[in-house]
């Protein structure tokens, strides 16, 4: 009996099966890795987006605190100060009792407080503005209203508040967004505002199904001197 040996005859069935199995295993591994990487990437993008939004918020708060108190009382004559108290800026407005007896920071002050801050500054409009940041639920709100004498800054800014940063978890975690110089008593003496934003990603992590949270901290210094 003659057995025909043909070296150019191609693969045997066994070789083909082994090749196919190997290819399937390798391709499966590659795709598995890809899917895993993709999920990881989606998760990280989620966090990065949250980080960027918190970063922008901290940057804006920092800029506002930098300009807090501009123009100060010493920019005017005493006569102008007495006649037009709305034409100079205190660094920070307070509640209750504004503009009368200042409250005590960390004590009787509702504002400035751990979740509420009102900066007074002319940020380019030629008029003093109250710029307020207030945590309401899980949303950090921001609003601006012109400073007017005999007007309460909380009441004046409440209507102008718009959502500025969502999913802020500081309230849930009982962690202050704003904290101030140690030992400071009067709102006008605040020189540095420590900012801590704990923000949860808007979507759950695709791999774990859990909502991830980032914590971003910063410090904003008031450059306008004490008055």
């Amino acid at each position: 009996m003659n057995r025909r040996h043909d070296s150019a005859g191609g693969f045997s069935l066994v070789e083909l099966l082994v090749g196919t199995v190997l290819f399937t295993i390798i391709t499966g591994a590659v795709f598995s890795l890809l899917v895993s990487a993709q999920l990881r990437y989606q998760g990280e993008s989620n966090v990065t987006e949250t980080f960027q939004q918190a970063n922008v918020a901290i940057d804006q708060i920092t800029r506002d605190v930098h300009s807090a108190g501009y123009p100060p009382k010493n920019s005017l004559s005493v006569e102008a100060v007495n006649m037009h108290p709305d034409t100079y800026a205190l660094p920070f407005a307070w509640a209750p009792n504004y503009p009368f007896t200042p409250c005590s920071v960390g004590g009787s002050c509702a504002v400035p407080g751990p979740y509420d801050l009102i900066v007074e500054a002319d940020v380019g409009s030629g008029k003093i503005q109250w710029i307020r940041y207030s945590l309401q639920g899980r949303t950090l709100m921001r609003g601006m209203a012109p400073k007017e004498k005999f007007t309460d800054p909380v009441d004046a800014t409440t209507g102008s508040l718009v959502p500025y940063l969502e999913n802020v978890m500081n309230g849930d975690k009982s962690k202050a967004i704003f904290s101030y110089d140690p030992g400071v008593v009067l709102p006008s003496d605040i020189r540095q505002v420590n900012i801590c934003l704990m923000v949860e990603a808007p979507r759950p992590d695709p791999q774990t199904g859990q909502y991830r949270m980032i914590t971003l901290t910063g410090q904003a210094v008031r450059f306008n001197p004490n008055q």
Binding site: F23, T27, V30, F31, L34, A37, Q38, Y41, S45, T48, Q52, N55, D59, R63, H66, S67, G69, Y70, P71, P72, K73, N74, S75, L76, S77, V78, E79, A80, V81, M83, H84, T87, A121, D122, V123, G124, G126, F223, N224, P225, N226
Partner: protein
């Protein structure tokens, strides 16, 4: 084969997407970093401008800002000094207002209503930045220019006078508490005022981030408050007391009074034109009528001198528009004086915690202090100067008790603000050329008083006393750099 190619394509597409997204995130973070860098570069520019306004700065630009030592001209518009800081091979010309120039100074027109190229702007030749340390290979911050101008209602858009119209082009002055509109550059209501300037800086980073920031500055609170000293020895407060050597005012405790003198005659007055101030000044008229204060006894003594027509022991009333030479507001309250103490301490060459003793064998004063280089020394607490056979130069601020042995001399100003006690009961031939100011602002526990307390000056031993010197008073005031009155950022859009 087809499956393999398909797989490779899929992998490539996903990888490319990842690279692109990672790249965009890097760019976002880069932009943020660049914006922050621009802010701090611009702030560095402000600090260079502020620092070089100071006459004692080795690279002072005072001659540009104040030609011939005069105030900044302001009519009809302004005078502009620029510090420019180009990168290597770059041209920075804020006067080129073309749209293609990223460093054009268009902000000037916003402030003054005329382009900076207008002849009335009176732009001076550019001054180069000194921020880079070339020898050490240290590059400076990337600000592009710093502009220094006078400040007015018009330029600041602030209704300083309160008349409802922020449009007055006359320069503003600062009296330590408030800004006031001058009359064509002449202070209108108080002689103790200094001119207010605006310092503006633009920074642009290589990534194109732009930040512009602005300071309002004025000579130091000390200079503003004491641009003219009210008296050679000022006892500021309520219930003050003065005790001189026996024979000086008759209430002293002995010692050699033959050479002791407190004189308000200016040592630096031109020959033949005597001028000066009271030898001893007090601020509460009740203290003079209280014989325990020693003031009325001093007034009757020939040891306390002043120019003709000026009381040798005189009441220093609060400054008002009618009495411009009175005591500035800053010096009338414990809080005002305390703010001045803080400002001086921030700029001191040396701060020492008391109690300390200065003697021949124990030097607490800053190294390098000399007649050519007067310095600022602050002692937080008590200072005893004992058996120091030398001279000090500059500003000495003591917040506790100052015990002075007149073996030593001092050329400059001595401030005893806080405990407010000056004591000297030893003999010597030392003399204070300049002025002495004593105020009690804190109680024994160190708490700030509501009203000024009982400052006291006692020199019962010997020494030559105090001679008012306008030269040393001014030289001391010049030791303090310009202070920042306000700060703001000016929003920028990419041109």
């Amino acid at each position: 084969m087809v499956i393999a190619i398909f797989t490779l394509m899929l992998i490539s597409v996903v990888a490319t997407a990842m690279i692109l997204m990672a790249g965009s995130e890097t760019a976002v973070k880069g932009n943020y970093k660049s914006a922050m860098q621009a802010f701090y570069d611009a702030k560095a520019g402000l600090e260079e401008g502020r620092g070089r306004l100071w006459a004692n700065n080795p690279n002072s630009i005072a001659n540009c800002v104040f030609p011939g030592g005069a105030m900044m001209p302001t009519s009809p518009a302004t005078r502009v000094c620029y510090i420019v800081n180009p990168s290597s091979g770059e041209i920075v010309n804020p006067l080129d207002l073309s749209a293609a120039n990223p460093y054009a100074d268009t902000e000037f027109q916003q402030e003054w209503g005329i382009p900076v190229t207008d002849a009335n702007a009176d732009v001076q030749p550019f001054i180069n930045s000194t921020s880079a340390v070339v020898g050490a290979g240290i590059a400076g911050p990337l600000f592009k220019w710093v502009r220094i101008t006078p400040r007015s209602e018009l330029s600041s858009k602030i209704d300083v006078s309160g008349n409802g119209q922020p449009d007055d082009p006359n320069p503003l002055f600062y009296d330590g508490t408030q800004q006031l509109v001058s009359s064509a550059g002449t202070p209108v209501s108080n002689a103790a005022q200094v001119q207010v300037l605006t310092v503006t800086a633009l920074a642009v980073t290589p990534y194109g981030s732009r930040r512009m920031v602005q300071y309002t500055v004025a000579p130091s609170a000390f200079a503003a408050a004491l641009s003219t000293f009210p008296s050679a020895l000022t006892l500021d407060g309520n219930g003050v007391s003065f005790t001189g050597p026996s024979g000086g005012n008759g209430n002293g405790g002995g010692g050699n009074s033959s050479t002791f003198q407190i004189s308000g005659n200016d040592l630096n007055a031109p020959p033949g034109s005597p001028s000066g101030i009271p030898a001893i000044g007090y601020t509460n008229s009740d203290d003079y009528s209280n014989s325990d204060s020693g003031l009325s006894a001093a007034a009757a003594s020939s040891n306390y001198l002043s120019p003709a027509g000026v009381s040798n022991v005189g009441l220093i009333p609060p400054s008002t528009p009618q009495i411009p030479s009175g005591l500035p507001l800053t010096l009338q309250t414990p809080s005002g004086l305390d703010a001045m103490v803080q400002a001086i301490t921030l700029n001191a060459d040396k701060v020492v915690t008391g109690p300390v003793t200065q003697s021949d064998s124990n030097n607490i004063f800053p190294t390098g202090m000399s007649i050519e280089t007067p310095m600022i020394t602050v002692v937080n607490g008590d200072l005893t100067i004992n058996a120091w056979h030398n001279s000090g130069y500059g500003l000495l601020l003591v917040t506790g008790q100052l015990k002075y042995d007149p073996d030593a001399s001092w050329n400059g100003v001595i401030l005893v603000i806080g405990k407010g006690v000056f004591v000297s009961n030893q003999n010597g031939t030392g003399q204070i050329n300049g002025a002495v100011f004593v105020a009690n602002t804190r109680d024994a526990a160190g708490n700030l008083l509501t009203n000024l307390g009982a400052a006291s000056f006692t020199q019962t031993g010997g020494g030559h006393g105090i001679r008012y010197s306008s030269h040393w008073a001014k030289a001391t005031q010049a030791l303090l750099p310009y202070q920042v009155l306000s700060f703001r950022e000016i929003a920028q859009t990419t041109p």
